[in-house]
Subunit: 191 residues, 2 copies
């Protein structure tokens, strides 16, 4: 048996799950509240019992995306380059077992890029800034000699954009084979 509170929470989660699916596959603007309601097996009116508006639902998902990007920190690694290998391997493993992870990449990317995103939501999405967080680790790697010479920010950017591109494709193409983490780390690895 299920208490009302539990039931409500479950319904809420169902909506969130369906909304993520649709926001990712069609984009936020093209996703209708009725689409979400239909896929979640409920009336359109009920949607507003759970979420004040379409925008608030979106905001909730963006907040989840931000929190989900809990940065794994600089685990103990002998070399800076190991950090990136571990990070990438962990990310790919996570994406394989939880397809939702790749979907969040698409969600957050759209929220960040699109000028149609409500400003306050865009600000939340913008807080995800892995590129800058990578910079000090790359500098460390350059001192060690395990990473390429060059502007650390540019290296970080190249590496992260590559991950982003792969995650985005994987989100809608889960049958594709993910590359070896090592291949990608070669972008920044010193030869």
């Amino acid at each position: 048996m299920e208490t009302r509170k539990e039931q409500k929470e479950r319904r809420r989660q169902e909506i969130i799950q369906v909304a993520l699916e649709l926001f990712v596959s069609k984009g936020y603007a093209a996703t209708k509240i009725t689409d979400i309601a239909k896929r979640a097996n409920m009336s359109t009116g009920l949607m507003f019992h759970y979420f004040e508006s379409k925008e608030k639902l979106y905001e909730e998902l963006i907040r989840m995306g931000l929190e989900g990007t809990a940065y794994p920190g600089e685990q103990k690694c002998e070399h800076a380059i190991d950090f990136f290998v571990n990070f990438t391997e962990a990310l790919f493993a996570y994406m394989k077992e939880q397809p939702v992870v790749a979907k969040f990449f698409v969600l957050m990317a759209e929220a960040q890029r699109s000028e149609a995103t409500p400003e306050h939501i865009r600000e939340i999405a913008m807080k995800v800034n892995v590129i800058e967080q990578f910079v000090p680790i790359i500098e460390w790697g350059q001192q060690e000699g395990t990473m390429k010479e060059g502007e650390p920010l540019t290296l970080s950017n190249a590496f992260w954009c590559s991950l982003q591109g792969i995650a985005e494709r994987y989100a809608t193409n889960p049958e594709m084979e993910l590359p070896d983490a090592e291949w990608l780390v070669d972008i920044i690895r010193r030869k």
Copy 2:
């Protein structure tokens, strides 16, 4: 002095240019005909004198994107790996001098990914399939020993997704520094 035909053609190009800008920055669904009209300094009604519908305008842009992907072919290179270096360098140089190039990456990616894209337009967008075109060149490189071992399609995929990720970021962030072509080719280069 300008003939009517020339004037009409110029207007058409203005609309196309503005529409590309907006479809990229806001997404197709979130871009209103009135937005385009305003930015192109004309009444909304006039838009329909030049394009039958918002969808037809979109289709036109997607067709342009498809044609613009005129594949440079296998230029004469000593090694397969050189092809990828040349290709990437050429692409980045082109993106720098013609910002519109990166924008088309975003446009085509959205059209391909989004389930909100009208089916016949999606089909056009799907014709761009560089990943498969790269496969034989990668196989050649593997025979030569200049490229990594592994499934050619997976390598091609990793490389292309990386380019895609970089182009997408560059489209809305043109102040960012593009990486060395060599860095990216290291994804597929044998060590």
